[in-house]
Subunit: 165 residues, 2 copies
């Protein structure tokens, strides 16, 4: 394989991993009633609603971080990222949050599809040019893989929202 | 960057992701008593013991899959991979299982460190040469990333073994 082929292979691995995790989360929540999604994933642990808000905020932040323009729902950060579950900040209704999840992922996925393989090896907006020169692995590809791993962590918890087999 | 540099960056992303997840699991279980680890992660769900056995078996299988020689504990597959939790097959004591986890990861990590960047783009033993020719992304790097994502899924569940904050 030449340089271009190696990069295409690498990008496919990361992008497939991203789509697989996001697809699994979408499938899981689509199969849950609002009541099931609102429940705690385990006694005294985060609710499905909180984890969905958390993952939605994290995905929305990619839009900024990758220089794709203005993110859609920055108001999600306070209640779902910076504060723990059961905080009393204003939050979207559960149906709205489901829409945000789909809407944000559609935007993110459109941008992902439009990227060249080489662009994945470029710097994102959360690392300075100086740091990136020293640590060239802190690229967009790295962030995408990290986000897939992060989503998988919470997906494992959200599977507990499903009725027991 | 040239071809070699791109590959080195990619391999660092995947290997770092692997080490991060395995390190988090090790840290989590090291902080749990045997009794805490033996508990169910949530009511009626998999126990920490079962999930540790499951992850240990999956890591052990990498040794075979990557052509690194004979795996250490194939007897883990039946009780921790092929059968669900609470099966009555013979299983190692919890202390033994903790040792297997460390022992297997030490072997895997030694092999990981000895691999060249190019070797990560090669075929593993779970894909045929014919399929690999058509789907060159089904390489060892892909498996390592998939395993980090899989481990993260169960790590999310195992964090529920910790006392509530």
């Amino acid at each position: 394989m030449n340089n271009t082929d190696f990069n295409a292979v690498t990008v496919k691995i990361a992008v497939d991993a991203w789509h697989m995790q996001m697809g699994r989360i979408s499938k899981l929540i689509d199969g849950l009633t609002d009541e099931q999604l609102a429940a705690d994933t385990a006694p005294g642990r985060n609710s499905g609603y909180y984890l969905l808000g958390h993952l939605t905020a994290v995905n929305d932040r990619l839009i900024d971080m990758f220089g794709w323009g203005a993110r859609l729902h920055p108001e999600l950060d306070e209640p779902f990222l910076f504060k723990p579950d059961k905080n009393d900040l204003p939050k979207p209704a559960i149906g709205e949050l489901r829409s945000y999840w789909s809407e944000i992922n559609a935007v993110v996925n459109t941008h992902i599809e439009s990227m060249t393989a080489a662009a994945w090896f470029e710097r994102h907006n959360a690392v300075t040019a100086e740091d990136f020169a020293k640590e060239p692995h802190r690229n967009k590809l790295n962030v995408l893989v990290s986000r897939a791993i992060h989503a998988s962590n919470h997906l494992g918890q959200m599977t507990y929202l499903q009725p027991k087999a």
